[in-house]
């Protein structure tokens, strides 16, 4: 189930990026490049996983779609589609990691625990994806004019917050 969901979300990321490209109608080379890279990002990781080159296909999905979306936004494609593409790639990336965790030998023979974990994880993931979509949409819709100093301060604050989160995980992790 998890694997299928992961494939579906990766397809959704690619479809969203392609739809954004086609609907915007900017110069043909940009559209063609977006479509080609989206299809590649959607199809390549499962193929590589099938070749037992596990480990980097999942990060490739997320990093690839995030980079592609940033490029699309800068090229004038629909930012909403790009946002959906990033969120779908994030969900696919998470589900692939979940599937890897569930294949741990400690889960062998504990189908009940496995199902419960799957359900709980999907619930949380959907909630976080929804919050992310809301925040992202708000960020795209809301227009605010800020002075340079205020923008700098806000940026520093955001980067500090992000650094704090990373430091927290680094300090408490293994």
């Amino acid at each position: 189930m998890i694997r299928r969901a992961s494939h579906v979300t990766r397809g959704l990321a690619a479809a969203s990026a392609i739809a954004g490209s086609l609907l915007a109608g900017p110069p043909l080379p940009v559209v063609a490049a977006m479509v080609a890279v989206s299809l590649l990002l959607a199809a390549l990781p499962p193929l590589l996983a099938g070749q037992r080159q596990r480990g980097w296909p999942a990060p490739l999905t997320l990093a690839g779609f995030a980079g592609l979306s940033a490029l699309g936004v800068r090229s004038g494609l629909g930012p909403g589609w790009m946002l959906v593409s990033v969120i779908a790639a994030l969900v696919a990336w998470d589900l692939e990691h979940l599937e890897e965790r569930l294949s741990h030998p400690a889960y062998a023979g504990t189908q009940t625990g496995r199902r419960a974990l799957e359900r709980a994880h999907l619930r949380r993931l959907v909630a976080v994806a929804a919050v992310g979509l809301l925040l992202g949409s708000g960020g795209l819709i809301a227009q605010a004019r800020v002075t340079f100093v205020l923008a700098l301060l806000l940026s520093l604050l955001a980067l500090l917050g992000l650094s704090w989160i990373l430091a927290f995980f680094r300090a408490s992790g293994e």
């Binding site: 980097w56 990060p59 997320l62 990093a63 995030a66 979306s69 940033a70 936004v73 800068r74 930012p79 790009m82 946002l83 990033v86 969120i87 994030l90 998470d94 990691h97 979940l98 965790r101 741990h104 030998p105 400690a106 889960y107 062998a108 023979g109 504990t110 625990g113 419960a116 974990l117 709980a120 994880h121 949380r124 993931l125 909630a127 976080v128 994806a129 919050v131 992310g132 979509l133 925040l135 992202g136 949409s137 708000g138 960020g139 795209l140 923008a151 940026s155 955001a158 980067l159 992000l162 989160i165 990373l166 927290f168 995980f169 680094r170 408490s172 992790g173 293994e174």
Partner: protein
């Protein structure tokens, strides 16, 4: 690439791009990623506070037995999701059933039992701690801690059941037992004839001898049977050991020593043990089940080792054994061990050498390789020569091919040949 590094790197990159291009849409693209990280940080579990207690189905088992292990893990902190509990198996213990790990969720105060079984080898495998791995929400990072859960199993060597081992020490103890005492008296085996004394049972009178001497009566004497002092010596020198894959000669020697000690003690004898290897591990002689337990515990921990001092048998501490007692040496023996054994014999000890056969064991493992058979034949000749010299010195020798039962080897080498088997005509010699 760590998931956290990847996610953090992407967020940083989108932020920097957004700031660089002064494009708020790029910042908006980073927001879902930030929400994901924030949720993981917000719901991150606190420090895992767990306590663990270990128990065994039995903490004293024979080698090769399967032991049930139960690790009771209690959560003394906040609720934990998706915790991996993994037990570390010590050397000498291998998983025989179940799994030594589990992934669970634990509510505060909840207790979880990790149950599995292990097959243990001789020794005292010591279990120390369990490994606990818990993750943050979405598995962005993992916490790993070690929770102490000490426990130890005593794995005693297996002792084969042996019939009575025939020994004849020069001196015996004062109590009745199974060992022929080389003294006349009441017993089973005929010992001699002496003049009748008042009080002798009438059925002991040797009427045939008495008939030849009309004025005297003669009575039969029987050999007294008493308890004996037995000193067991286990050769634990590194050079006496052979280890090829799973085949380990020293393990067989330990099993033989355990079997002999059990047999001698069951007969009521006083038995001591000396493990001669890296050092001298001496168990003072004693009787009964307590002594058996002492000896088996020492054998459980016996290991081979090197020592320049004890490289040869010259330093066997004979003062540990009463003069005239029976010494049983379990060793494959080397050619240069002979003088030391002859000296022991000259001091009045009765010696029995049980030789586990290293050549046969190696041939079993190396069969088919070039030169093995020829080498085995040369070594067999050397062993046969050493055996002959030992026998000439009055030392009993039992050669034991470790794949055959020890009892059978002892019977073959030490047992009395029944009269009806003594003069069996060879086939073809009519």
């Amino acid at each position: 690439v760590s998931r956290l590094v990847l996610l953090g790197g992407l967020v940083y990159a989108l932020f920097l791009l957004g700031l660089g291009f002064r494009d708020g849409r790029l910042l908006a693209l980073a927001l879902p990623l930030v929400a994901y990280m924030a949720a993981a940080a917000f719901y991150a579990p606190g420090e895992a506070k767990l306590s663990a207690r270990r128990s065994f189905g039995s903490d004293r088992v024979p080698a090769g037995a399967v032991v049930q292990v139960d690790v009771e893990v209690m959560n003394e902190g906040a609720a934990l999701q998706e915790v991996l509990i993994r037990d570390r198996l010590p050397s000498g213990a291998e998983l025989a059933g179940g799994q030594a790990m589990a992934i669970i969720s634990l509510e505060p105060g909840e207790v979880f039992h990790l149950r599995y079984s292990v097959r243990v080898q001789r020794g005292s495998p010591s279990f120390r701690e369990i490994e606990v791995e818990s993750g943050s929400l979405f598995g962005l990072t993992r916490w790993r801690t070690l929770v102490p859960a000490a426990g130890r199993i005593l794995v005693l060597p297996r002792a084969d059941r042996l019939r009575r081992v025939p020994i004849r020490p020069l001196r015996t103890r004062g109590y009745a037992g199974p060992v022929p005492a080389r003294q006349g008296g009441s017993g089973v085996d005929f010992f001699g004839v002496r003049e009748y004394q008042t009080g002798d049972p009438r059925h002991w009178i040797n009427w045939r001898a008495s008939a030849r001497h009309p004025r005297s009566l003669f009575t039969n004497e029987y050999e007294q049977e008493r308890l004996a002092d037995v000193g067991l010596i286990l050769d634990a020198r590194q050079r006496s050991d052979v280890r090829l894959g799973d085949a380990w000669l020293f393990e067989h020697a330990v099993r033989a020593a355990a079997s002999l000690a059990t047999a001698f003690l069951d007969d009521g004898n006083r038995v001591g043990l000396l493990v001669y290897g890296r050092s001298l591990d001496w168990t003072f002689p004693g009787y009964g089940k307590v002594q058996r337990e002492r000896i088996l515990r020492v054998l459980a921990g016996a290991q081979t080792g090197d020592s320049q001092v004890f490289d040869r048998l010259d330093y066997l501490p004979t003062r540990f054994f009463p003069t005239g007692s029976q010494i049983v040496l379990v060793s494959p023996l080397h050619g240069d061990d002979l003088p030391a054994l002859v000296r022991l014999r000259a001091r009045g000890y009765q010696l029995l050498v049980l030789r586990p056969d290293p050549v046969g064991m190696e041939v079993e493992v190396l069969r088919g390789r070039p030169g093995v058979e020829l080498a085995a034949r040369v070594l067999e000749v050397e062993r046969a020569l050493l055996r002959r010299r030992l026998l000439q010195a009055g030392i009993a020798v039992v050669d034991w091919h470790v794949t055959e039962p020890l009892d059978q080897a002892l019977r073959t080498s030490l047992g009395r040949v029944p009269p009806w088997h003594r003069h069996v005509p060879l086939a073809g010699r009519a």
